[in-house]
Symmetry: C2
Subunit: 364 residues, 2 copies
């Protein structure tokens, strides 16, 4: 993250924490000065976030994303403070295959939402961002209008390793953004892989952006994703493409018709829009509003939130247990052999699992 | 399981294992005599199974299903012996909502298959069977013709507890049945819940039995299940229902059209049939044969089998790790509090998870 000049200097000047005298090492001295210049207490972070200070919010998110133990500890304290002030937003997951015009759509819908006097935070989950260096939202110029909008806050996907880690960071970032007063949160994700499931588990409304064409374009939807959608938008419904988009919408509607209603009792809607010409964007926002009203009324909204909070607690535990097991030296030494025995029918899957578990539990 | 008179007495008479003198306790003496009468060595079990002895096969399956450590140990030895002789079958998962006529369909298709000189084993996964006492396949009279067919072997769902346990037992039973010469295996499951995923992970072909009617009847399909299907059969296509069944087939075909092809490169087929009048049953079997040929040719068949073997190794490990954690005393004492803190926004999901992990790893 680039360093930006703090907008609110005053908050940065008080209570710098306990200072230690710098050593004679020049690098250490420089690091000390850096720390001195930036170090805030958890309370100062909290105050800044609650006040809506974007710079402090950004710094706090950087702590969440950091792998340094001291940063993690500080992040934890900040999150606990913000927690009672979080939750008051509509969280919207947005997914779609590359080429569906997701960025343009987010910009169009985002601008519409801020014009309605909402505060919008745009986050992302893209576990591939580090590897491919092609992070979604990494390039803010993709959303030029929105990134210059004082009612919008764009934050690229955290770029650290596993999906579990990235998802945790984005979920915690959501809490801070809510405490900072953002009442609409977008969580963007790529239209492939398991990241949809992670996003689906942390949003209130899951929106799938599609384009017309029952052929190759649809091939990119991962199996199962369509069934997560609370709404589908056929984008690029403009010019000569309008009829095709309408046809696609009809096809999606009849496909969705074959599925049972979602747990919410809400029937997923299929709309068409043009992000380029900004037509029918208001209808997308209306659909989300209708959903919100519907699920507030039948209490599903709170139920889903509670289930998600519980889900992430268990998911975090299960991930940790797995990581701890598969990083165990004895397990690492044996696992190749076991896999090979299983794949060559020399050992049953269950016996191989038993051998690995023996190694782990006998030699922790 | 009811005790049946062994068909092959000789195998039961040799090598009874090392006998211990009975104690004076009469119950113990009786138990000893029972053990004496039935106890086989692993080699005897193996020989019996390979010879196709149904009684010995049934007894071995009972060992798989038993929770006694000595039975589990014996079962493990038998499975390891059978493993090199297993795998030579087509494994077919069959799912469908109650009312779709699944039993009648299994009977019709099963009879057709045995008439083609195949040996058919019909197994089931129904984790609810113990609770509800309404085990699928519990009542063999549901499939009267098939249960009197000397080329068919019907075994009800194991009735022990968790889905993971039931699934493991059914998968191990599959291996024994294959070693006993059964070259077609049906694994039936109910059309609700997670059991479909388990069955899908242990079969070569997943068949969904449906009935006509785009309305209420379809509401029972669990989201995501349709996408697992390699084939869909609209059952009860007879009498005045034929046209409705054909219409339903068309609807399913266009819905499936919206999904990308499965990994196998196979496009799921939708057929109609009448299990009652045994019409078009041959086409269902032909479809399965076509799939088999297709996936043998493009090597997907073996790939799927290998992936499944690997999957069950990891699934077993992950299940065990979870069980071990959640049955830990310290975790059990704390988990209610943590859940409640998370649900009431007093603590983040991640902090709560961290607290529980601390308790577990500090006090194992």
């Amino acid at each position: 993250m680039k360093q930006q000049k703090p907008k609110t200097e005053s908050a940065l000047k008080v209570n710098q924490g306990i200072e230690q005298p710098p050593s004679v090492d020049e690098g250490a001295a420089q690091r000390f000065l850096n720390i001195k210049r930036k170090k805030l207490t958890a309370d100062e972070y909290f105050d800044g976030i609650i006040r809506g200070d974007r710079t402090i919010l950004s710094k706090a998110i950087t702590l969440i994303e950091s792998s340094l133990p001291e940063h993690q500890l500080m992040a934890k304290q900040i999150i606990e403070k913000c927690l009672p002030h979080s939750g008051k937003s509509i969280r919207i997951g947005i997914s779609g295959v590359p080429g569906a015009g997701k960025s343009t759509f987010i910009e169009a819908l985002g601008k519409f939402i801020t014009s309605q006097h909402h505060q919008l935070a745009v986050l992302a989950i893209d576990p591939s961002s580090e590897r491919s260096k092609g992070s979604i939202l990494g390039d803010k110029t993709r959303m030029e209008e929105l990134s210059n909008d004082k009612n919008a806050f764009i934050r690229p996907s955290p770029s650290a390793g596993s999906l579990g880690g990235v998802a945790r960071k984005t979920r915690e970032t959501t809490l801070l953004c809510e405490a900072a007063g953002f009442d609409v949160i977008f969580i963007e994700t790529v239209g492939v892989g398991q990241s949809e499931t992670a996003v689906h588990s942390m949003v209130d409304f899951f929106l799938l952006v599609q384009i017309a064409g029952a052929g190759d374009e649809l091939q990119g939807i991962k199996r199962g994703i369509m069934e997560m959608a609370d709404g589908i938008v056929i984008n690029k419904a403009d010019g000569s493409n309008i009829e095709k988009a309408k046809l696609a919408a009809t096809e999606f509607r009849s496909a969705l018709h074959l599925f049972p209603p979602t747990q919410s009792g809400w029937y997923p809607k299929v709309l068409t829009c043009s992000s380029l010409y900004k037509t029918h964007i208001d209808e997308v926002w209306k659909m989300i509003g209708d959903y919100f009203e519907h699920t507030q009324k039948n209490l599903f909204f709170d139920k889903r939130r509670s289930e998600q909070a519980r889900y992430w607690m268990y998911e975090t535990i299960n991930n940790y247990l797995r990581d701890n097991f598969y990083q165990h030296e004895g397990v690492k030494n044996l696992i190749q052999q076991m896999e090979s025995d299983v794949l060559n029918d020399r050992m049953s899957s269950f016996e191989a699992a038993g051998n690995l578990l023996d190694v782990y539990f006998k030699n922790k």
